[in-house]
């Protein structure tokens, strides 16, 4: 089985972001960047399948600026075999990214495409589902467990009512949720070794995909600030504060 894993470079999830005062976006200069956490779970799942002998090759692809090489190297250090950077400095919409990944999938013909379920910057949660449609594959999103059963996968998904297990025939697209596994931190020798693994860089405008955004972003604004509250001294005070809130609620 050949696996293609798509990864994204995002503002590190522990950074408290700052909205630019002019409303044009979120400040990303001088901010620590790293691999999107969900993508790390996708890479880990692929590497574990390779270690179990269920996958023969794990190929990493990222769409983004030159610096996205860093997150591809992280994935290679975790145990993936080679990388592809689809390079662009433009901010692409999710549909455009899915179309570029579909072109890469056409070339690579992977049995399984793994992605994180969403990126923690735009929080879209689109690309896996779009890629499944564009490559005419079944999808298993929000995976917390993947079991290979012959030419099928049994995937347990985290859904609003709990969890559900579905069977998807390969080739398929799976997106990773946080409880799928615990991503490894690559040891130093692996990090050194990653630098010698193949990493192809290809300009995004050479794939025959229109990169023009469809939506117009009018403004990015900070959320309303919460007014600081008060500390009460006793359980009785807390209970009466709760009671007064409940009394103000309208019946639905």
């Amino acid at each position: 089985m050949k696996i293609l894993v798509a990864v994204k470079r995002v503002v590190d999830h522990n950074v408290r972001i700052r909205v630019r005062p002019d409303g044009t976006g979120v400040e990303t200069t001088g901010v620590r960047m790293s691999m999107n956490p969900f993508c790390k779970h996708a890479v880990e799942a692929a590497v574990q399948l390779a270690e179990k002998g269920q996958a023969s090759e794990v190929v990493i692809v990222s769409v983004g600026p030159k610096q996205s090489n860093d997150v591809i190297l992280t994935a290679l250090a975790m145990g993936a075999h080679r990388g592809i950077l689809v390079e662009t400095d433009a901010a692409l919409e999710t549909l455009t990214i899915a179309k570029l990944l579909a072109k890469v999938a056409d070339e690579e013909q992977p049995d399984l495409i793994l992605l994180g379920k969403q990126a923690v910057d735009d929080d879209s949660n689109h690309v896996g589902q779009m890629l499944a449609a564009l490559t005419n594959r079944p999808q298993a999103t929000f995976a917390s467990e993947i079991v290979v059963k012959g030419s099928e996968l049994e995937v347990t998904r985290e859904v609003d009512y709990g969890r559900e297990t579905i069977a998807v025939p390969l080739p398929a697209v799976v997106t990773a949720d946080l409880r799928l596994n615990t991503p490894r931190n690559a040891a130093l020798p692996m990090v050194m070794k990653a630098r010698s693994k193949p990493l192809a860089v290809r300009p995004a405008d050479t794939f025959g995909v229109d990169l023009t955004p469809r939506l117009t972003i009018e403004k990015i604004s900070p959320p309303a600030e919460r007014v600081p509250g008060k500390t009460v001294g006793s359980v009785a005070d807390l209970a009466s504060a709760i009671a007064s809130e409940v009394n103000e609620m309208e019946a639905l």
Partner: protein, 311 residues
């Protein structure tokens, strides 16, 4: 300018959030509801009662992403907007449909600013993005908790559609949490427990407080990861987004990803040993102390006063 809205349902019943989604979709035009289910009868009948629904269309089919997407696709041509809840089903199917129709979707909408202007949260709700969508068709998901529910009392016609939809994926099994607490995403009061609750038994105390107040119960990712609470209780960037009138956070320090899920709460109360915890800092009312001492006393106080949320 009509809108097709996919109905969410569970165990043969319409999701309680649907009235909120109808209200949201109705801001864009007349709303037709689509029900895709193996046993659609009760679901369609409930949907027909929501004010603002023009017609309920029913497809009897398996509930996989492919069969729902294919059902929506066969109707999409007639509508200017195709929409769903930003739930695990809506998130699964709307982007798949969008790619098939070559439309960039706008998802997780928390405010409708105009016929094609929408606001959605990004960066775990730490920023809000307002976009204009000039495309000929709009593919949308709405965050139910951000909208007030539509009234009931309607009697919209129900139409069965004879569509044959296929799906390569097959449903095998559901693993659900049996619980009689209210729906987290639409509850008026939510009690949340953090990793300091320290065990599944500890969460029974949180549930007891929930029962006292008629509240839904949630948990942080750390508490779910530790096995203290089931995954469908998780509140945060990747779990459920809540917008209750009152959120009571117990033993929760307030990671960015958890705060992302509670920003819609009108009032936040906190019980925590650490006065410097981020959640205590943003709380409207905080009580500093040990949750295992405070919560039983609180339950007793509330039971004594007979307080309970209006039904």
């Amino acid at each position: 300018m009509s809108v097709l809205l996919l109905a969410d349902h569970d165990k043969g019943e319409l999701s309680p959030a649907t009235a909120r989604l109808v209200a949201a979709a109705n801001q864009l035009g007349p709303v037709d509801v689509l029900v895709v289910a193996e046993n659609p009868g009760n679901i369609a009948a409930s949907a027909a009662q929501i004010a603002g629904v023009r017609i309920v269309q029913v497809v009897k089919a398996a509930e996989t992403a492919e069969s729902i997407t294919n059902s929506l696709e066969s109707l999409a041509q007639r509508y200017q907007s195709v929409s769903a809840s930003a739930s695990s089903v809506g998130k699964d199917v709307i982007p798949r449909l969008a790619a098939k129709l070559d439309i960039q979707p706008v998802t997780d909408i928390v405010a409708i600013e105009g016929a094609n202007r929408f606001t959605r949260p990004i960066y775990a709700g730490n920023a809000l993005e307002t976009v204009t969508d000039p495309q000929p068709k709009h593919l949308l998901t709405f965050r139910a908790s951000a909208f007030r529910p539509a009234a009931s009392g309607n009697a919209a016609p129900v139409e069965n559609l004879d569509l044959s939809v296929t799906s390569a994926a097959r449903f095998l099994a559901a693993h659900r949490t049996e619980s009689d607490t209210p729906d987290l995403a639409t509850a008026q009061i939510v009690i949340g427990g953090g990793v300091s609750v320290a065990s599944a038994e500890g969460f029974q105390l949180i549930e007891k407080l929930g029962k006292t107040l008629g509240a839904a119960v949630g948990a942080t990712r750390a508490a779910v990861d530790a096995g203290y609470a089931p995954n469908d209780w998780q509140i945060g960037q990747t779990g459920k987004i809540i917008a209750p009138d009152l959120y009571i956070a117990i033993g929760i320090s307030g990671a960015l990803q958890h705060l992302a899920g509670i920003q819609g709460a009108k009032k936040i109360f906190a019980i925590n040993t650490d006065p410097e915890a981020p959640l205590v800092k943003i709380a409207d009312v905080a009580l500093i102390g040990d949750l295992f001492e405070i919560v039983p006393q609180l339950i007793a106080e509330l039971e004594k006063s007979g307080i309970r949320k209006p039904q």
